[in-house]
């Protein structure tokens, strides 16, 4: 346990702007190890140091490690709790105990009353047993591993150096397994959002800052196109309204692929850029903004629109239509009359394809309105508001002169704007932090609700 604590202590003590070098790390490690007694001093030092080095390299962005909850920056540490920290919470243990008890009592009922299949209550219990099964199994596994760790630790003080070595390896393996199990348990506790599995419609709109804001909007749109390619999602532009100087006023795209909404939903909000625009002659720094909306794309079955509520506008509406005219203007504009929501598409040469694409955007807009209504109460207390909620809130700053990107919701900063705007590892790292933070909030909600 000492090894882990030490490593954690070290990582906590690191500050994002003044990285301790390896030498000073070694000093701390040696010093700390010295206080632990001389028997296993060497091995602890080595392990701790390895861990520190690994963490350090990770902090510099060299590796992509998905499970390092607390290894990004000190600002983060204050907000995102590590798995271990969450597991120190009493409420979590109470909750897990309650889940186990519920599982066993239901299992008992289900097993003894196996023949009355038409009982509604029994069906519910059966479903609950089935859904809790994996979680309970993991809780049990964790107990077993913890016991195993205790037993192995005894051998660390064995006289035979071979056995000590073996025990050390075993202990390390146990720690990793325990971390894995804890992580799994937490992710099993976090509820799935209904819309997490859906595809999405991305909308970008230039905000304040004129041409500069439009240029930035084009860069952000490209970033998400890169992000989609990075994940192997399909990216289909639905709408694109460029500005005269190569910027972008407004655009929409349909993104689909595994986990696309889950990863993209935290991108919604106001993005701010601080830089000296290309058009600026006196070298003054400007601040401009653009807005991102991420709308889950409902399936045909889950959300229907009454065709009578739609007014479809095309170029062909005037004049005779049919064989009488040969227009190449295939743009389609659809108005949802009850809400006044409008969507249009002119990406395609086929009118029916334009209509389909416009419908896609319209459906997403209407669906997200519906979701917003339904969920606004549920997420009132949360900081990371999903979907279109919090659209007006500034979520992130791209500061070019300092070459940094800061997400204000979780206080996370990464460097290398160019790399970030390519929509690859750095953006992925950011969305993963946001996701962990959001999951943690969801978890805390559950635990708090459980306490009351």
């Amino acid at each position: 346990m000492a090894v882990i604590c030490l490593a954690k202590m070290l990582s906590l003590s690191m500050c994002p702007f003044t990285w301790p070098n390896v030498l000073s790390l070694r000093t701390i490690a040696n010093h700390a190890a010295g206080q632990l007694g001389s028997v296993n001093r060497h091995c602890i030092t080595r392990t701790a140091l390895q861990k520190c080095m690994r963490k350090t390299s990770h902090q510099y962005g060299c590796s992509k490690h998905s499970r390092s909850v607390h290894a990004t920056s000190s600002l983060m540490v204050s907000k995102i709790l590590s798995v271990d920290e969450i597991f120190t919470k009493r409420s979590l243990h109470d909750y897990l105990k309650r889940v186990e008890a519920e599982y066993h009592s239901y299992l008992e009922i289900v097993n003894t009353a196996a023949h009355q299949t038409d009982d509604e209550d029994l069906k519910l219990k059966r479903t609950r047993v089935a859904s809790l099964g994996p979680l309970v199994q993991k809780i049990r596994d964790l107990e077993l591993k913890k016991r195993e760790l205790e037993e192995t630790k005894m051998l660390l003080n064995d006289n035979d150096p071979d056995i000590r070595d073996l025990a050390e390896t075993e202990t390390e393996a146990c720690h990793i397994a325990i971390q894995d199990l804890k992580q799994t348990i937490l992710s099993l506790l976090i509820p799935e959002e209904e819309s997490d599995m859906s595809d999405l419609v991305l909308e970008v709109t230039a905000g304040i800052g004129g041409q500069e804001a439009m240029l930035f909007t084009a860069e952000i749109f490209d970033m998400y196109q890169g992000f989609a390619a990075f994940h192997g999602w399909s990216f289909d532009t639905l709408e694109y309204m460029p500005s005269d100087l190569g910027g972008l006023r407004h655009a929409a795209a349909s993104i689909s692929g595994p986990l696309s909404y889950k990863k993209m939903k935290f991108e919604a909000g106001v993005h701010r850029v601080q830089r000296v625009p290309k058009t600026e002659k006196q070298g003054r720094m400007h601040t401009s903004t653009m807005t991102v909306a991420v709308l889950p794309q409902p399936t045909e079955i889950s959300f229907t629109i009454n065709p009578k509520d739609l007014r479809i506008e095309t170029k062909r509406a005037s004049g005779a239509g049919g064989q009488h005219v040969n227009t190449t203007d295939s743009a389609v504009r659809i108005v949802h009359v009850p809400t006044g929501i409008v969507s249009e598409c002119q990406q395609e040469r086929s009118q029916i394809k334009n209509k389909e694409k416009a419908m896609k955007v319209l459906r997403a807009k209407l669906y997200s309105m519906k979701l917003e209504e339904e969920t606004s109460k549920r997420y009132q207390t949360r900081k990371l508001q999903i979907g279109t909620k919090g659209r007006s809130e500034k979520i992130r700053t791209y500061n070019f002169s300092q070459d940094r990107i800061t997400d204000h919701r979780i206080g996370k900063t990464v460097h290398d704007i160019h790399g970030f705007l390519s929509g690859e590892e750095l953006l992925e790292e950011m969305t993963e932090s946001l996701q962990r933070f959001s999951e943690q909030e969801a978890l805390m909600d559950i635990l708090e609700a459980n306490d009351q």
């Binding site: 479809i312 062909r316 049919g322 064989q323 009488h324 040969n326 203007d329 040469r349 029916i352 394809k353």
Partner: protein, 341 residues
Amino acid sequence: MSSLFKRVLNRYIGTAKHQFSRDASLAVGRNLPAVSRMTVKQAARLWEQHFLEHDIPEARLSSQYIIAHVLGAKTLENVEQRRLAEFLTDAQTERVWELCSKRLTRMPVQYVIEEWDFRELTLKMRPPVFIPRPETEELVSLVLQDLQAQPYGGKTGTTGLQCLEVGCGSGAISLSLLHGLPQLRAVAVDRSPEAVSLTRENAMRLGLQDRLHIHQLDVTKDGSEIVETCGVAQVLVSNPPYLFTQDMEILEEEILRFEDHRALDGGGEGLSVIGAILGLAPQLLSEQGRVYLEVDPRHPPLIQEWVEQRTVGLQYVETRCDITERPRFCILQKGEKRRGQ
């Protein structure tokens, strides 16, 4: 740059001499914009302006579609922002000037770039074969919806689903149906040899030739041959010429001068080909088989009356509207009229 200009002009006049000498002299008389090194965006704007000055309809779109086509895209909206600011190569400039000159003669954009999209498909377009209109995309939707809702395949067993199209033009309807329904087979007829060969070419390009038989037959003359060759189908679909002859006068030059009049002119009341199709329909359809027609908005009541008075073995099912809420499609079904209906 002057050498490039000369080359463009020479090349343009060279092709024009062979194919469009009359139109070419017109266009040259209008002075082409000077060729110079310019970006995609500048070229698009220049030609839009030039088309406007010469009263070419849809000036902006024409310029954009042609330039997008030269860049290998379908619309300029699909071209990346940074490419719009890049310079056109000499070869691209030459091609843009060549194609835009054709448009100056009022040639439809679809013929100028020799292709257009119909639903999911990109089809080859060639004068004088009729250019499919957006309404016909909806006709295909109607047929697809019906066929997907009713599993004909089960009823007809091994013979599978069969469709007949009268007046196939570029092949848009048949090829879209074949594309959408893998179990479907189709026969397409058209009286024009150009249409027959263009449909064949499009079928080959899309890899759908194995399920499509194409015959050069005229529904108004070769009735018995059509019945012999085509066998029995569950679906008879057509976008027949349905303009009233008097309407031909009001057509835009794009249509009047470039498209086959026989694909447009449906006679005095626009019903001459429709009548021939409905007359043959009972012999071409299986029991409960359906006819899907695109027509002029004035036609549905006339057709309903016509069927009720004259045609034996055909029932009028319903009229459907197009996207602009005009009564545009007629659905009929084989079978005797039941009492009380």
